[in-house]
């Protein structure tokens, strides 16, 4: 089978996120004998994540010699560009979250939608008026074989890691976690994009920590490595993952709601006091048994095959495809116009302005101080 995977970006970044997902997916599909290519329209397409995986990246969709059998669409801008460029190819759309670029596009060539959690699926059902049969929940998986080392946890935790792209020294939640850990005599490190130290080898780094604060795929990596994991939200921490709450967290893709109440030091120390090497071991065992990425690929291949068959037996009316693009354009055009207005002379603020603003603010403070001294 020939699969074209679209994504908002193919830049090389920290492991995780949709880039990490397509890297794993491409590798697994190739291993099964399928042909894979990727597409993105990202304008900063310089260092491609997929380079290292020998996956071709399509740059001229209209003139592809090698027409895919199915489009695995991720991120609506790239998915719709590919779907319209290849009007005879069926597609599935895989949404990994709830931010704008993950919204579901509607097009007759899209036969099935896939989400990573039940809550996301319910949201899409309601907001996009989909029928339940058109949406499948496939919880994320990780390449278990990549994590051969499983940590043997001590009775009391001594080291913790905040492992998240938003975490850094000045970040309020990171500081709360550090304070709570310090009170319990636990040493804390921070790894992630914002703290300026992303890693490519989580399989080597994660097993050196007793407790890891993370979410999504990062949390799954840490659980697979045998660490006790506390799920991170935007401003809050959830519970430690145990065998008891494992199903609930897996169903939620190991995330907690973005609008959860901000966590206090007391909340975190209470949660850390529940640390149990035994409960964590059971969670790790379940993750290594149920969270393998290969089961995700099994389900996806099944969905690809169904989409291909449905398309072959009953191809959609191409006129409806054009109308769907009309609807789609109407949703994105207002956004483009706001930007275009902003970039025109009436409201243009050059990017250097921000720096100038800061310089001027500093200058003002100095002059005002000087003035005060002389008055």
């Amino acid at each position: 089978m020939k699969v074209l995977i679209t994504n908002a970006s193919l830049e090389r970044r920290a492991r995780g996120g949709t880039q990490g997902f397509i890297q794993d997916l491409a590798r697994s599909l190739q291993k099964r004998g399928h042909s894979v290519m990727a597409y993105t329209s990202d304008p900063t397409q310089s260092r491609r994540l997929l380079h290292e995986d020998k996956i071709p990246v399509a740059t001229d969709l209209e003139n592809l010699e090698f027409v895919p059998d199915v489009i695995h669409g991720q991120h609506h801008l790239d998915a719709m560009s590919a779907i319209t460029a290849l009007p005879n190819v069926p597609a599935i759309y895989h949404s990994h979250g709830s931010i704008w670029k993950e919204c579901l596009p509607l097009h007759p060539q899209i036969y099935q939608y896939v989400t990573v959690s039940r809550f996301q699926a319910e949201r899409h059902l309601v907001e996009s008026n989909l029928s339940a049969k058109n949406i499948t929940v496939i919880p994320n998986g990780i390449e278990i074989a990549r994590f051969p080392t499983v940590r043997d946890l001590p009775d009391r935790p001594k080291t913790a890691l905040v492992y998240n792209r938003a975490a850094h020294k000045e970040h309020a939640l990171t500081q709360t976690i550090e304070t709570a850990c310090r009170e319990l005599g636990i040493k804390t490190d921070i790894i992630g994009l914002s703290s300026g130290n992303t890693i490519d080898n989580p399989e080597e780094v994660l097993p050196t920590y007793d407790v890891v604060f993370a979410s999504g795929l990062s949390a799954m990596d840490a659980i697979a490595c045998g660490c006790a994991v506390s799920i991170l939200g935007r401003e809050s921490c959830g519970s430690l993952v145990t065998d008891e709450n494992f199903d609930r967290f897996r169903e939620a893709n190991f995330t907690i709601p973005a609008n959860a109440t901000p966590t206090t030091v007391a909340d975190i120390t209470r949660e850390l006091s529940r640390y149990s090497a035994d409960a964590t071991r059971k969670a790790t065992a379940r993750m290594r048994c149920e969270g393998d990425f290969e089961t995700v690929v099994d389900q996806l291949v099944d969905i690809y095959e169904k989409a291909i068959t449905m398309h072959r037996e009953n191809p959609p009316d191409p006129r409806l495809g054009i109308l769907a693009v009309g609807d789609y354009l109407q949703t994105i055009v207002p956004l483009v116009k706001v930007v275009d207005d902003y970039l025109t002379w009436e409201a243009r603020v050059p990017l250097s302005t921000q720096k100038e603003l800061i310089d001027l603010q500093e200058q003002l403070i100095l002059i005002e101080e000087k003035l005060k001294k002389h008055q």
Binding site: S41, P43, T84, A85, W100, A166, I322, G326, L329, V336
Partner: protein, 373 residues
């Protein structure tokens, strides 16, 4: 004939909005049905309200499909073309900015440019054959400008009439200095000056000289004023019978990248003021640039496109591929925006105001400091 006109906005009086308003009014007067469409989110005060032209809100479910789409601005044009798969289209580009760039789609049968220079640019940049693009020079509603000024032997009142020049703009200052040399008083009217007008026919005839470009320059010439063409940073020549054809072909514009104007140069142009020469220019414009002749040509083009479309079988596959190319053209812009709206690179929206305020505070504090020292 049922005509759908698209435009980036319908809520203010800019060049292309005036064309929509005029075109709609003239087509209605000839018995055609007209509707307008914009995908602008600020569709609050519709310019067309006053003209009883329906503005399409739910384009996909229109109960009667237009015979032709008169597309202006690619975002709105492509939205309408995709939403109305039975209607053929033309694309009318009014300038060289991004939103006027030409979109491509099998149902766009003709492109229109407002000057020879723009047509040549589009031909070269978009690999168009000469038969695909036509120059349709702008027209104005001459009957609206019923008052024609009788010019005095020596000019006393001048007007800078343009949306982008405010009182502190360098060009405004240069023009004011040049006018002062000739004892001419200068007023400034326009969006940036904070005093835009809706009835130019009542205001323009009270000035001897008007600095303007495009449709505004044409309005002023029709009102009997002597006109000096302006660009973004520069002033061109006084419009005279000798250079009239050149300026008409260039839509009364001075190239955006011209050298900045000097007081001497503008003063030299002001010295060329001649009531007789301006009278001839006004007469020629009123004869040659009436909007009725623009509408005559447009209706011919509409009819030929409709006929051509009737004998063309729809190719939805080709259309889908064209829409994909279009999506790929606009997607990078959306992505850059989406990123800049995210936490990592967000800029405050009020940066500009803060900057201006800071600059003036620094100036005030520096003055105080100088006083104290």
């Amino acid at each position: 004939m049922k005509v759908l006109i698209t435009n980036t906005r319908l809520d203010r009086r800019g060049g292309s909005e005036v064309v929509v308003q005029l075109l709609a009014r003239h087509l209605q007067a000839r018995g055609h049905t007209v509707m307008a469409y914009t995908g602008h989110p600020n569709e609050v005060r519709r310019l067309l309200d006053l003209d009883s032209v329906p503005v399409v809100n739910d384009i996909k479910n229109l109960t009667f499909a237009p015979d032709i789409i008169h597309g202006q601005h690619h975002l709105d044009t492509m939205s309408a073309i995709a939403a109305l798969p039975e209607s053929p289209a033309l694309f009318h580009s009014h300038g060289g900015v991004w939103k006027d760039a030409l979109p491509f789609h099998p149902r766009i049968y003709k492109y229109l440019a407002i000057s020879r220079f723009m047509a040549e640019r589009h031909q070269i940049e978009c690999n168009l054959s000469p038969s695909q693009i036509e120059v349709l020079l702008n027209g104005i509603d001459v009957s609206k400008f019923h008052t024609v000024r009788e010019l005095p032997p020596h000019p006393k009142k001048a007007l800078l009439y343009n949306r982008i020049f405010h009182l502190e703009h360098p060009l405004t200052k240069t023009i004011r200095n040049a006018c002062a040399r000739h004892n001419i008083n200068l007023d400034v009217i326009g969006l940036a000056a904070g005093n835009k007008i809706d009835k130019p026919e009542e205001v323009l005839p009270s000035y001897d000289i008007v600095f303007a470009s495009g449709l505004s320059a044409m309005d002023a010439i029709a009102s009997g004023c002597a006109v000096i063409s302006i660009g973004r940073t520069s002033c061109g020549a006084m419009v005279t019978p000798d250079n009239f054809d050149h300026y008409r072909e260039a839509n009364f514009l001075t190239p955006a990248n011209s050298n900045p104007a000097t007081t001497e140069k503008i003063s030299g142009e002001l010295a060329r003021f001649s009531p007789e020469s301006s009278q001839t220019v006004t007469r020629r414009l009123r004869e040659e640039a009436d909007f009725n002749s623009v509408v005559d040509r447009l209706v011919d083009i509409y009819e030929s496109i409709i006929t051509q479309h009737q004998s063309t079988n729809p190719d939805y596959e080709k259309e889908s591929v064209a829409l994909s190319a279009y999506l790929r053209m606009i997607t990078p812009l959306i992505k850059v925006t989406d990123r800049s709206l995210n936490w990592d690179t967000r800029l405050p929206t009020d940066t500009f105001d803060s900057l201006c305020e800071l600059r003036s505070r620094i100036a005030r504090v520096k003055t105080k400091l100088d006083d104290v020292l």
